[in-house]
């Protein structure tokens, strides 16, 4: 992947396939490092599946929805000297707290660090494709924090307007661009 934001889009799709109703994308950035956390309340994975989920060759057709996404993110993190870890609680065993958390840690100054890229387009694409799912995106940087919470948008828009409406998507794009300090 050319940008980490594309890995984020890809991994967040796993959460959507796992029937999550709320997906959190959290970025914590310092001058030296970037931590990415993707948390969902989806159906989770069994311990057995979790143990082989980052091995691209053990993925079978029935589980192909995971596929190459996690191995690619793991590679992107490890090639900077960082790491990726996954925790998951299966719905059958954890009816109230099921879900999955993917954490990836990157050293930004490493030669092989993949730039974050256009996270705004990633958020817009996720909301466009899954307007029924709620997303919290938060990017903490040394000098500012960018945040979008679709639960809040939903409250204002009511039931009349789907979050995938182009005007809403443009509002999200505009709001994030402003928060990142970009011009209108």
């Amino acid at each position: 992947m050319k940008e980490l934001s594309l890995n984020i889009l890809d991994i967040a799709q796993n959460s959507i396939h796992a029937e999550a109703s709320f997906v959190q994308i959290l970025l914590t950035e310092t001058d030296e490092s970037l931590k990415l956390e993707i948390r969902d309340d989806g159906r989770g994975m069994s311990e057995e599946f979790l143990s082989r989920v980052t091995d691209p060759f053990s993925t079978t057709r029935t589980t192909r929805k995971v596929g190459l996404g996690l191995p690619l993110l793991k590679l992107a993190a490890e090639q900077t000297g960082g790491y990726m870890q996954i925790t998951s609680r299966e719905r059958a065993l954890y009816p109230d707290t099921h879900g999955t958390e993917v954490t990836a840690f990157f050293y930004k100054n490493h030669l092989d660090f993949t730039p974050l890229g256009d996270v705004i387009s990633t958020v817009v694409s996720l909301v466009q494709g899954s307007p029924e799912v709620d997303f919290l995106f938060m990017h903490e940087m040394p000098d500012r924090t960018v945040e979008i919470d679709t639960r809040m948008l939903r409250e204002v828009l009511g039931d009349d307007v789907p979050l995938s409406d182009p005007e809403v998507l443009m509002w999200i794009r505009g709001s994030m661009t402003e928060q990142y300090g970009g011009g209108e």
Binding site: S125, D165, W171, G174, Q179
Partner: protein
């Protein structure tokens, strides 16, 4: 921060358009957004379609959707256009081709044969 008032205004404008929006779409554009599609450049293609459809006032008449891997990863980004029982499959789509597909196929009604999978497999 971009104001919530603007969001409220969107809601008010939409309330007047609800009846129109509930009619089923005439055409549906589906972009492959699995790992293979994303890695090949599907994200800007998707966003180009969303913007073009909105800018041309086609929201409600034309739906833009996303799908997973359809097993032809080497041809990604793949875009399918559905109209009635007709399906046209475009391959190696980029934002420029996406604009052209909206103009010629979605608006003009003429599929762009040279961008389809049929043309590539000849």
């Amino acid at each position: 921060m971009k104001s919530l008032e603007e969001l409220k205004a969107i809601r008010e404008r939409m309330q007047n358009k609800v009846i129109l929006r509930e009619g089923s779409a005439e055409k549906r554009i589906v972009v492959g957004m699995a790992t293979c599609g994303i890695a090949a450049g599907a994200r800007p293609v998707l966003n180009t379609f969303v913007e073009e459809i909105a800018n041309r006032g086609l929201t409600g008449k034309v739906e833009v959707g996303q799908t997973g891997c359809i097993g032809m990863c080497r041809y990604e980004p793949i875009v399918e256009v559905f109209e009635g029982d007709q399906r046209v499959t475009y391959i190696f789509v980029d934002p420029a081709k996406a604009k052209e597909i909206v103009e010629k196929h979605i608006v003009g009604g003429q599929p762009i044969v040279e961008y389809t999978i049929g043309a590539a497999q000849k």
